[in-house]
């Protein structure tokens, strides 16, 4: 079994502050891992490091193909949601349907609420086909229905051999392995 994400003795420094060091873990197919910790403890930075958007100060990170959902929407505001998502994946319809966005395909992105935008970023990840999902605060702005739908998607992704790394200070549905970061 090969790991989809592997941290080996990783340290990360941002703005002169050491966020964590000697961090090692592996994430294999079918596994889910939650990064927990208080505000400012480096959860989002760990996610960006896992995505390759930040460089580790020490240690090594190996990653497979991945998809990231964070607070940045990365959709063109003036386009209808369906077309905006199509820029990233040619057929986002199934994922949009799974997150309850099917009826919003023609609505311009700029008119969507923050919860609907969160669902849209999760739909982009679900439609990506990448084996590794990185979710930064996936429950932010989601209502209970949205959280339930995300839970289903995560379960299905794990069953098909995927892995999920999520950063959240909230309780996520299902059984998650945990890494606790200290502030």
């Amino acid at each position: 079994m090969t790991a989809l994400l592997r941290f080996e003795d990783v340290a990360l420094r941002r703005g002169g502050r050491l966020l964590f060091e000697h961090l090692s873990f592996e994430l294999g197919p079918g596994e889910r891992l939650q990064v927990a910790g208080p505000n400012g403890s480096g959860k989002s930075s760990l996610i960006r490091l896992a995505a390759g958007l930040l460089q580790a100060e020490a240690g090594r990170v190996d990653r497979s193909r991945l998809a990231l959902a964070d607070d940045a929407v990365a959709l063109d505001r003036e386009l209808p949601l369906g077309r905006a998502l199509q820029f990233w994946n040619t057929s986002p319809e199934i994922a949009m349907d799974a997150l309850g966005l099917a009826h919003l395909g023609l609505a311009p992105v700029r008119l969507l609420s923050s919860g609907q935008l969160k669902r849209a970023t999760l739909a982009r990840v679900a439609a990506s086909g990448a084996p590794l999902w990185l979710l930064d605060e996936p429950l932010n702005a989601l209502d209970s229905d949205g959280a339930k739908k995300l839970g289903f998607l995560v379960e299905r992704h794990l069953e098909t051999g995927g892995a999920v790394l999520a950063a959240s200070h909230q309780r996520l549905g299902g059984e998650w392995r945990k890494i606790e970061l200290r502030g």
């Binding site: 940045a72 929407v73 990365a74 820029f87």
Partner: protein, 212 residues
Amino acid sequence: MIGALILRDARRGFTGAAWLPIAFFLLVATLVPFAVGPDARLLSRIGPGALWIAALSAALLPIERLIEPDHANGMLDQLLLHGVADESIAAGKIAAHWLTFGPLLFVAAFPAAALLHIDGHALVRVLLSILVGTPGLAALAVAVAALTAGLPRAGSIAGLLLLPLAVPLLIFAAAFCASGSNQAIAFEAAIAILLLAGSPFVAGAAIRASRT
């Protein structure tokens, strides 16, 4: 992905404010006869240089919307995660920016030249110098936009950065318009190629450095 990015950027340019720099270009060209008087001989002598100054000022207008919006909403991060290198993002943006800027400026040069009594061979030379120079100008604009993305008062800093770097382009474009010398346009083309070749790397490094 890179083709989709060019199409998307060009679409955003045309549906957005692509006409604004062009209107500004025409406006500056209109101001020249008011400033120096209606003497046709004087106007046709200083006209090409004035048009190039107008073109440089117009090139400044779109800078703030070239990179910064995509930086702010995570587009640049997602493109990298989809396997597009930062340098390729920059190259795509240069192509798209030229598409929304170069051809329109070329067309607008006709009425602007008429206002300044530039005709015949002089008009052909002005059009040639614009055709050769605008790709370099577009590349420079994207590099400067990437370097200033996210800074406070980015627009003013971009002006201070872009205009001095555009001076070599201006010198040889104006020299070609005045003399029609082959060497002048060859030098202008060489500078445009240098800017086109270097800007993707400068802009790519700037995009990478902005990811903190």
